[in-house]
């Protein structure tokens, strides 16, 4: 069974541009989570999608947005990129958004803003 897949693996953008990151969850998983892993800051929760709707977001500005498609894949969009947006962006999926549900992670997209 394929795991969570993210694309692209690496992305280089210039300041002010927009970045689009993609995530395909494990088949059957309806919940998708996005995290930012910046150097020295650990994992920061960005967004949670379930059944096509945004259920919760972390403390990030509105230029971080996304969506979940009918097939449960998801996109993370970052507008007006800033240098400090450079980080590893991790996507995770889970079977359902119930208690004690394990999240499975992708390998991440390394975004570099220059």
């Amino acid at each position: 069974e394929a795991g969570v897949t993210q694309s692209p693996t690496h992305l280089i953008k210039t300041r002010g541009q927009q970045a689009t990151l993609r995530c395909s969850p494990i088949s059957g998983h309806t919940s998708v989570y996005w995290y930012q892993q910046a150097l020295g800051l650990g994992l920061q929760f960005l967004l949670w999608y379930d059944e096509g709707e945004e259920r919760n977001r972390g403390n990030f500005p509105p230029r971080f947005s996304g969506r979940q498609f009918p097939n449960y894949s998801s996109e993370l969009n970052v507008n007006a990129l800033e240098l400090e947006d450079s980080a590893l962006y991790l996507c995770a999926s889970s079977l359902w958004a119930g208690m004690n549900t394990e999240a499975f992670f992708g390998q991440g997209t390394r975004l570099t803003v220059v």
Partner: protein, 110 residues
């Protein structure tokens, strides 16, 4: 504010020595707690969850509500345990988000 503290950024032990990775949380309500691990060049994965009261790869973790801690322990560390370890309580209400610690890098030396 909900917070997770992993006080040690780096923990270095010798093979065969006991290891304890500390995790303290401040959290309203009863959290669901997890330890995740990231081995070199591998993706982040679940190690164990407190509700299962399980031992995985020799690791155990006990939830101490009085001390609000969820320390990860192993009596005899192995070289293959070298990895990054993250403690994460789950807000299982409407928020449904994992609140992560900054992680502890465990190095087990031969």
């Amino acid at each position: 504010a909900q917070r997770v503290t992993q006080p040690e950024k780096l923990l270095s032990v010798f093979k065969g020595a006991p290891v304890e990775l500390k995790c303290n949380y401040s959290y309203s309500g009863s959290p669901e707690l997890f330890w995740y691990v990231q081995y070199s060049r591998q993706r982040l994965q679940l190690l164990l969850r407190h509700i299962s009261r399980e031992s995985i790869k020799g690791f155990t973790a006990d939830l101490n509500k009085g001390e609000t801690s969820f320390h990860l322990k192993k009596p005899f560390a192995q070289e293959e345990d070298s990895a990054m370890y993250y403690c994460a309580p789950l807000n299982a209400g409407n928020n449904r988000k994992l609140i992560w610690g900054l992680g502890t890098s465990l190095a087990v030396n031969p």
